[in-house]
Symmetry: none
Subunit: 216 residues, 2 copies
């Protein structure tokens, strides 16, 4: 029994023929840490699904400069490694393994058929595209403006407490931004062990680091 | 007879009920040059379709810095002014009129129904999302990887005219840099006889050289 039903939330709704098509053509592969999985404009790797591990999507310039776009964790689906299937996507990304990563791969021919034959599948793919687009916009804003993480750090420091009772909505309102933006930055701070997020509560774990982000 | 059939290439395939729903709810509006049509995180403007004119999608920072994402010309559709309809889009854009622009607007409730009820419509919307995603990736690459002189060269070449009516301020806004930076680079181009600077006007004298700077 494979894990594919955990990846696609609509699995039970799928026609048996579609299920068989996926099951019969699913490839399993482990990529080693540091390995390049997909290289821009070089190939069409098919739909890559992370089972366990971490992949990084990035673009690079001719001079070798790199920009990370987003990371893919357990059960995340990488559409853009199969961008050949999406006729209106005119860019390509690189994909590398941040850690040893165990993946499923759905070959591009099967992926193309799935989009055509299954409404559930094509709707799901479009949702993921919206998420990736949002990821890239977040990266763009960070790159160009790079101010909100600083502002949130300073905002939290202004409370003067280690434990702050507040919602992301309130912070967003106070800083004139969207709740999603605040949540993403707070989550990235949590990932870096700078703070801990609770229900309507933020606990500062590493004030020194927060001060440095706030440029104080 | 309105122009909606020219905008949606799949118009003839639509069910009569869907056609009526669109026709009965289509609003027509003219925005004046410089007018802000949609402000990020402020409202849900619905689906905006350019009939004639030019709109600019951009994001801005708290400090007032702006980055142009893409422009919308005749018959282009702006999905992201109705991003409330797309549950997985967590960012928002601003939209302003570059010139006096005549538009159709499909209200968000109707847009939501159209996506749900019409396969043609939802497929079309997804195609446009792929195009906009590609536009933004191009902007990101320009911002991160390309030097400002190259970016200005490409920006001017994109106009396709020898004579461009524009201010340094507008170029700076579009490219997300300071007016001083733009003026300095334009003056260096003028010194090299690549172009001639007039009052709110730039005349390209040596297109070949500009192409070479733009790496085209």
């Amino acid at each position: 029994m494979n894990q594919i039903s955990k990846i696609f939330p609509f699995w039970d709704k799928l026609d048996i023929n579609i299920k068989n098509l996926i099951n019969d053509n699913l490839k399993e592969k482990t990529f080693l840490k540091g390995e390049i999985i997909h290289e821009a404009y070089n190939d069409c790797s098919g739909l890559i699904i992370v089972l366990e591990g971490c992949l990084r999507a990035f673009i690079n310039s001719d001079s070798g400069k790199e920009i990370s776009l987003y990371k893919l964790l357990d059960y995340d689906v990488c559409l853009l490694s199969a961008n050949c299937v999406m006729k209106n996507i005119s860019f390509d990304i690189n994909l590398s393994a941040v850690a040893d990563t165990h993946c499923y791969i759905i070959p591009k021919e099967i992926y193309t058929t799935l989009i055509k034959e299954s409404k559930e599948f094509s709707e799901y793919v479009n949702k993921i595209l919206e998420v990736r687009f949002s990821d890239v916009m977040w990266t763009l804003e960070q790159l160009v403006f790079h101010s909100m993480d600083k502002r949130i750090a300073n905002y939290l420091l202004d409370y003067g407490n280690e434990e702050i009772i507040i919602t992301h909505d309130i912070i967003a309102n106070d800083l004139g931004t969207a709740r999603e933006v605040v949540s993403r930055i707070l989550k990235s701070f949590e990932k870096d062990k700078i703070l801990e997020l609770g229900r309507n509560k933020i606990i500062i774990l590493n004030k020194k680091e927060l001060l440095s982000i706030g440029d104080r």
